[in-house]
Amino acid sequence: MTELLIGTKKGLFALAGHAGSPFEVTARAFAGDPVEYAVRDPRSGRIFASVTSPFYGPKLWYTEESAEEWIQAEGLELPAGGDVALERIWTVVPGVDDGTVYAGGDPGVLFVSRDGGSTFELNRALWEQPSRDRWQPGAGGLCLHSIVTWPGEPDRLALAISAAGVWLTEDGGESWTRGNEGLVPRYLPEDAPDDEIALCVHRLRRAPTRPERIFMQFHGGVYRSDDAGATWTSIADGLPSDFGFPLAVDPADPDSAYVIPLAADVDRVTPDGRVRVYETRDGGASWTARGEGLPSEDAYLTVLRGAMDQAGSGASLELYFGATSGDVYGSGDAGATWFEVAKPLPPIFSVSAAA
């Protein structure tokens, strides 16, 4: 049985089923409110849901099991009396150490919990970065959307902020360095001075069996790093477009990555009305279109950065993605064939999967 937690513009939907057949909607929570992201921590079983009430502001909630009794997590706020407020919580990521949970939000902030996600504290080293006053938001805000942990190394993290690039720590967040060498922002003039700040990263994923390897979907570019995020090499050749948002990997294969190209930054839909996922099994040297079972004409979908996830690994790798149209698709055979997971939901912001 696979569980999907789907964050939508109108609440959280929990779905359950077996890959290859339609899933059942098992619960809905936060009806009417935008749910940016939801995930189950496999260590504790807790489900987290990031909810941005247009009235009452961003809140992070958790439930132990039922998806009915939700408790508000504490501490997800910026320093009182300042001139900036928390706008949104983009992601929640279980850490490596027991009890550690991370949350990333707008304006480019990281929160850390050491008690399983009940209470959080702002990471001050990132908050107090001297360059922060020059960080610029992307279209979705100044969002810290990707937090990639390092298996077995709790102090090593990579973060990505749109549009303030990649940030790396090897001391548990006491200090941060940039990891942007090799990224080429086409949205800046060619003769612009090198800019280490205005870098619009859309998504990061680490290859867990080769953790120094990280894949990136950039705002116009797909990249791979083999040195833990310090430098990046373009791997976009062979894709119909290098623009897109989400990214997935097969945890068993460090040479694997999946992306969903969109036509362009000025036309954020699947190219030519065809929905296709692109897979590499050689670290980005080549890409193969995977579209069997997906709409092949007149389908202009937008898939956001948090709206694709994987469960399992190897030949039984399951992949799921949702679109702002509300459509949800899945694959139970590592992308070879696809099926419709559910009837359309409200516009989908995020999908997380657990087998």
Binding site: P54, F55, Y56, G57, E77, L78, G81, G82, A85, L86
Partner: protein
């Protein structure tokens, strides 16, 4: 003392009580005191800057008011989600 009236989730967070007699000379002071007496409301009406959230409306005796609006002992203050916040 002014009477602060809450509905929906705000009422629930404030001890499941709709009406609260609170001492204060302005809308902002009343809301800050509400947070002190009912900490679960913190961050729901005022953000961490202490600013009234964009899509929360406050009415004093039926008139839409600002955070700085003075209130008197006999005033009724309604805190409501704004029409503008619906999407």
């Amino acid at each position: 003392m002014p009477l602060v009236c809450l509905r929906g989730p705000l009422k629930r967070l404030a001890g499941d009580r709709a009406e609260h007699s609170i001492d204060g000379g302005s809308v902002g002071e009343l809301l800050e005191e509400l947070e002190r007496t009912h900490p679960a409301t913190s961050g729901w009406i005022l953000d961490e800057r202490g600013v009234l959230r964009q899509h929360i409306n406050v009415f004093v005796n039926g008139e839409l008011c600002a955070q700085e609006t003075p209130v008197g002992a006999d005033d009724r203050v309604d805190v409501l989600p704004a029409l503008s916040g619906g999407r």
